[in-house]
């Protein structure tokens, strides 16, 4: 009995502590290599990360990221459109090899899946004009801070006020009005804004700078099957490569600027 349990532990224990890693086969990675195709699941209803173009084909930051990663392995990324809520079950069922879908890290899923390091943080940032001397949250005391009415930024601003922060909150109906009040009307000293909207504004040429740590963090990660340790290693290595080469920054500029331009044209 004890020896059976011991063997099971050796075979199935976490990769980092397993004594016999050579006995563990990453069937997901093997299948990707044999197929020459990395099947990536995403929900194309989440611009600029994933959306459908005029022909109905999925495009976006995550699609481009998946293609760039696959290219480093000499395979092709095949995009599989799956509803967001069904992505984990689809991965568990082996219908896809990974999820690349603006998927927030979820510690409750670590028993079922492996995660990459975050490739984007969509959380809440403090933004100021690039010419501003404000550099930290504490320097907002007595300052005028804009938020989008009803947003997470609004909620955090109200909470900071309840906790004693002496900031003067001003609500605006849209992120565009918020940014205009900061940069054009000069009626604000800082704004609380989600990082995607901020990056889109920056890509559109708005002179905005993010300061201090995110007020709230929403790290997006790539999700893989629990036993796909080799795939996880490959993803990590390639993410680092793309980061070092500046490819990730280029993708952000391409897709955040693309979306900002598209919205501006409407």
């Amino acid at each position: 009995m004890a020896s059976g349990a011991g063997i099971a532990w050796l075979l199935f224990a976490d990769q980092s502590v397993s004594l016999l890693p050579f006995l563990r086969r990453d069937v997901t990675w093997q299948a990707v290599q044999q197929r020459g195709v990395w099947r990536v699941g995403l929900d194309p209803s989440f611009p600029p990360f994933e959306l459908l173009d005029a022909t109905g084909a999925p495009v976006g930051y995550d699609v481009a990221l998946a293609q760039a990663l696959a290219e480093t392995w000499g395979v092709r990324a095949e995009i599989v459109a799956v509803g967001f809520d069904s992505l984990p079950d689809t991965l568990k069922a082996g219908r896809i090899d990974s999820i690349v879908s603006a998927y927030p890290y979820d510690e409750r899923l670590t028993q079922d899946f492996l995660f990459s390091t975050p490739y984007f943080d969509a959380g809440l940032r403090i933004a100021v004009p690039v010419s501003s001397t404000i550099r930290t949250l504490s320097e907002l005391t007595g300052q005028r801070v804009g938020v989008e009415w009803g947003s997470v930024g609004d909620m955090v601003g109200r909470r900071l006020q309840r906790e004693g922060a002496e900031i003067n909150l001003s609500p605006f109906e849209t992120p565009d009005e918020l940014i205009a009040a900061l940069l054009e009307d000069r009626s604000l000293d800082a704004i609380f804004i989600d990082n995607v909207s901020l990056r889109q504004a920056q890509a559109a040429g708005q002179p905005l700078a993010a300061i201090d740590a995110p007020l709230e963090s929403i790290p997006y990660v790539i999700v893989m099957p629990r036993r796909a340790a080799e795939l996880q290693n490959r993803v990590e290595t390639s993410l680092q490569l793309l980061k070092t080469r500046g490819d990730l920054a280029n993708l952000e500029n391409q897709w955040f600027g693309h979306q900002a331009n598209k919205e501006g044209a409407q």
């Binding site: 209803s45 989440f46 809520d85 989008e148 009415w149 009803g150 909620m155 109200r158 109906e173 989600d194």
Partner: protein
């Protein structure tokens, strides 16, 4: 001198042993005391009887306490619902969680939810569904139910109604029966759902005649004919009437999501919007069922920053308040408007989190504050 030192040392050692023994006994007694206290005293007191203060008696919300294991969080959730000015609350009571084996019930969690909802002065609508493993074939999902098991479900619903007589006066039978997903991927069939109503309704009425039975709760969908995923809700409701469902429910449950349309966007069979509810109402009237009221048991808007079916947070607030106004002023056939969803026990890490009014840590979102302001205005 040396002898004295020896005796003193022995005595000190004895004293230390006695002290240690006393401490050990004291610790054991304290542990037993804590155990007895935990056994006989409730962790969370119900508190005084409350009533909901509101200017709109139709305001409601769907809570999500199903997997909320800590009683203080159940209490806090329902307190905050009352403080928001919502007299109505919908909550899910999974059959599988309660009837663990045929005839063997675990009411602990359900009792807590019902007791706290009652104490906060809320009118609770209980949604019943989720099939225990013993009532379905192996390798089926907990939403799968064969017709030969309808009586088991009916008996559970009747037992539930009887247990909570005077405390829960509304029960919803099943959820979104026009979707394959909600039948464990079996084809949705209005006649089959009507058969379920025909089985469960008389059992509930025999146990608690005053309980209102809600049916429908159809998913608003534009699924084309023959879709494997679902049946258009307007088509499904008519098929329910055709199958004779009218005699087996007291109130129609409606799901009214607005997606990215404003609440005054006109009803259109080709569009999923808030006023699609009026099309369902038209079907009720056309079938001679105008005396039967309706309750919206799910609905509302989502304010995720990028989800394609979401609206901006400011729009969500304005649309939500307008929807509550429509319910009060324009829809006399509607008893309550219960929007999805008050709070989740944990973050969903998806667009679902942007349906909530309160975060998992009980941080009120601005929409909560605005609805509270709306329900507490002195003059409207």
């Amino acid at each position: 001198m040396r002898r004295w030192r020896y005796d003193a040392g022995v005595n000190m050692l004895r004293d230390r042993r006695r002290l240690s023994l006393l401490l050990l006994v004291g610790l054991l007694l304290a542990l037993v005391g804590v155990w007895v206290w935990r056994l006989y005293l409730p962790d969370v007191v119900l508190g005084p009887q409350q009533t909901v203060q509101t200017t709109n008696p139709k305001v409601g919300i769907h809570t999500r306490l199903t997997d909320e294991v800590e009683e203080w969080k159940i209490k806090r959730t329902l307190e905050m619902v009352r403080e928001m000015g919502a007299p109505w609350s919908v909550e899910y009571f999974p059959w599988a969680y309660i009837e663990e084996a045929p005839g063997r019930y675990n009411w602990v969690h359900a009792d807590q939810v019902v007791a706290h909802a009652n104490r906060q002065g809320l009118t609770l609508i209980a949604r019943l569904g989720f099939v225990p493993a013993w009532a379905r074939p192996k390798d089926t999902t907990p939403l799968y139910l064969d017709e030969e098991r309808f009586a088991d479900f009916g008996r559970f619903a009747a037992t539930f109604a009887e247990r909570y007589r005077g405390k829960v006066s509304y029960v919803i039978l099943w959820n979104e029966p026009n979707l394959a997903l909600e039948w464990g991927y079996a084809a949705p069939d209005a006649a089959k759902y009507t058969a379920l109503l025909r089985t469960a309704y008389p059992l509930i009425k025999a146990a608690a005649p005053e309980v209102h039975v809600l049916a429908g709760a159809l998913a608003p969908t534009l699924a084309p004919p023959g879709s494997e995923f679902g049946v258009n809700d307007l088509v499904f409701l008519q098929a329910m009437y055709d199958a004779g469902a009218a005699a087996y429910f007291d109130i129609l449950a409606i799901h009214a999501y607005g997606w990215h349309f404003e609440p005054d966007s006109p009803p259109d069979p080709a569009v999923v919007n808030f006023r699609r509810s009026e099309l369902l109402r038209d079907i009720m009237v056309r079938n001679g069922d105008e005396a039967t009221p309706a309750i919206i048991t799910e609905g509302g808007w989502n304010d995720h920053p990028r989800w394609t079916r979401a609206v901006r947070p400011a729009q969500r607030i304005a649309y939500t308040l307008r929807a509550y106004d429509i319910a009060l002023q324009e829809w006399p056939w509607l008893d309550a408007l219960c929007l999805w969803v008050f709070r989740f026990p944990w973050d969903q890490n998806s667009y679902q989190d942007y349906f909530t009014f309160v975060r998992t840590d009980f941080e009120p979102k601005p929409i909560y504050t605005e609805v509270q302001r709306y329900t507490h205005e002195l003059t409207r």
